[in-house]
Each structure stands twice: as structure tokens, then as C-alpha cells.
């Protein structure tokens, strides 16, 4: 156990597996928002700030972000075993579901009610992900950078990705680089 004891933690490897399975199964179009909702707001295994920090690492490393995030959260509490267990939770049952859907696909692709239901769930997911971004923006108030610098960086990020369609790697390294450099200077000034 390496994390601070001031907030709740997963009680066992099984708890980790079940928690990640349940949240993966709620993620239509994006599990990340569900991770934030369940692990930060409901279970409180992570604070908002910790979640953002872990996600920054999960995002910059190669591989699927939510899989990386699960790995890191599991590893935080139970080391390698925890990492593998969280990973298994995130993938095993959803994998079976997706294979089943592939087998059924030919039959149900024609049914308008099913397609409509998927369309409705996708619309809810889109709102859910944007809302998660807005919630996390609250964490920027405690950030070492001045709030308007953070806000500008976040705004430019949206412009780069949504309007200009720049490659993600470019956005991460350019805006991320500026953010990290500025933060480094502020932290260094505060704690020389």
C-alpha cells in the first residue's frame, strides 16, 4: 500500500476486478468519464487532482488510455497483481460482450429499435464526456499556474483538436510542453 491513507481504497483484488468490470460495462463510447464518476466521485479512491495526474501519464504513454489508467490505479494499491487484476476487470467481460455482439451483428443490424437505442446511448455518452471535462476544470483552480494560463491552454487544446484536427501527439507535446515548463518554473520558485 503506497497511497495516502486519508481516502478509501479497494478492499481486495476481487473488489478491484469487480469495480473495473462494472465501470467498463457502463462505458459506451468512452470509459474514461465513467472512471472519473465511479472512482473519484463515488468510491473516492482518487482525488480529482490525483485522477488528472494519473491520466496525464496514461495519455502520454503508448496504448489505450483507459487500459493504462486501470493498470496504474490497480498498481497503486496492489502492485503488479493489482495492475493485472484491474486490467483483467477492464477487458474480460467487455471482450465477451463485444464478441457476442459481433456474432449477433448480422441479425440485429437491421432492427431500427436497436439502432435507435444505440444512437440514444451514444448521445448520452457524448454529453457525459464533455461534462466530465467541465467538472475536472474545477481542479485547475488549485493548480500552481494562474487560472487564466490553464484556461488558455485548455482552450487552445480544444481548438487544436476540434477545429484544426491537428494530430494528438502534436497537441500533447506542444501545449503539454508549455504547461509542464511553466509549472516547473513556478514550482521551482516556490520551493527552491
Amino acid at each position: 500500500m503506497t497511497s495516502s491513507p486519508d481516502h478509501p481504497q479497494p478492499t481486495s483484488l476481487l473488489d478491484l476486478f469487480v469495480s473495473f468490470t462494472l465501470l467498463a460495462l457502463q462505458g459506451f463510447g468512452g470509459v474514461l468519464a465513467v472512471v472519473q464518476r465511479e472512482l473519484v466521485e463515488r468510491k473516492r479512491w482518487l482525488s480529482k487532482e490525483e485522477f488528472i495526474e494519473e491520466w496525464a501519464v496514461a495519455q502520454i504513454m503508448p496504448g489505450p488510455n483507459v487500459v493504462n489508467l486501470a493498470l496504474m490505479i490497480g498498481g497503486r494499491y496492489f502492485g503488479l497483481r493489482g495492475a493485472l487484476m484491474a486490467l483483467a476487470g477492464m477487458l474480460t467481460v467487455p471482450l465477451m460482450v463485444v464478441l457476442m455482439l459481433a456474432v449477433l451483428h448480422a441479425q440485429f443490424a437491421e432492427v431500427p429499435a436497436v439502432m435507435g437505442a444505440l444512437r440514444g446511448m451514444a448521445a448520452v455518452s457524448a454529453g457525459m464526456i464533455a461534462a466530465t471535462g467541465l467538472k475536472l476544470a474545477g481542479a485547475l483552480r488549485k493548480h500552481p499556474l494562474r487560472w487564466w494560463i490553464s484556461a488558455l491552454l485548455a482552450l487552445f487544446c480544444v481548438i487544436f483538436v476540434v477545429l484544426l484536427h491537428l494530430p494528438l501527439a502534436f497537441t500533447l507535446f506542444s501545449l503539454g510542453g508549455i504547461g509542464v515548463t511553466c509549472t516547473y518554473r513556478v514550482l521551482k520558485r516556490e520551493h527552491p
Binding site: 466521485e41 489505450p64 455482439l101 444512437r119 448520452v124 457524448a126 454529453g127 467541465l134 488558455l152 487544446c157
Partner: protein, 195 residues
Amino acid sequence: MSQAPLHLVLTLGDWINLFAHYLLLSLMSIGGAISTTAEMHRFLVEEHHWLTQAQFNDAIAIAQAAPGPNVLFVALMGWKVGLNTGSYLAAFAGVAVTMLGILIPSTTLTYLAARWGHENRELLGVRAFKQGMAPVVVGLMVSVGIILGSAHRDWQQDWKLWTLSVVAGLLIWRTRIHLLWLLAAGALLGGLQLV
């Protein structure tokens, strides 16, 4: 899945080639496996003809519609490559080969990096990195929501879907209502063709 549009014979060498290719893709997948889709298409559809264009598109569409991490579209590609040889056993082998390939390198690197970062969490550089990325992390999350929300939409025709997205977003932002209720409501409205 009775209609196998291709009839493949895969040698052991082909399986190893498939595995090796996904190991490589894993290392290139900064920003998620979805960012290497173009390269998967080149390899599976154009170069080796292991998947048809329609199968490739289906794999992505089904994985997007299903719950769970988006990376599962990789498993579906492996599944369909295996099915194209005509056996379910090969389909499961395809899933194992592609998923292990796409996961092993990236998860190993991430685990080691996260452990290193945790052991050195007091270092100024580590703290500056983790905190300094925060504004971009927030911006990305909002961007993904906007991109997903505007994927199919022409306002005239789809204003109901937009409204549903915005209402769901507001409820999640401002209340603690469980996500499953909102997803169920979305499924119901869509299933009854109301959105």
C-alpha cells in the same frame, strides 16, 4: 457469422507476422490504439487481404457501440481474421494474438513508467510533468465530448440528439444521478425512435 467473405489459409508464419505487427503498433499508439487505425487498415486490408473493407468498418462500428474500452475493436479484427479461415478456434486465436500484441508492449512501458514516477514523485520534474499536463488533459476531455457529440449531426435533422447530449451533460455536471439511468433513458428514447 456464417458468411465468411474470404477463405484464408494462415500459416504459422502469418500468425507470427500478425502478432509482430501488433506488437509494433502498440508502441506507436500514443493517444490510444484508435490512432493507429490507418496503419491497421493498410496492413490487414490492403497488404494482406486478411479482412474485407466491410469487415474492417464493422469491427470499429461494433466496438464503438458496445460497452467497454474502445481498444476492443482490435479483438474484433483478430476475431474476423480468424473466422475468415473458417473456424471458431482460429477466431479465438486471432483475438488472443491481436490483443496480446497490442497490449503487452504498451502496458509494460506504462507500468514501469508509473512505478518510476511514483518512486520519484518528489522530484520537481515529475511533479511539474504531472501537474503541468492538467490543462491539456481537461481540454482533451471536452474535445472528445464535442467530437463524439457532433459525429452524425446536421442540426435540422438531429436537434433532438444534440438536446439529449446537452441535457445529459448538464445532469451529470450538476447532479449525482447514476450514469446507468441516463444511458437507459437514452436507449429508451432512441429505441422508441423519439430521438
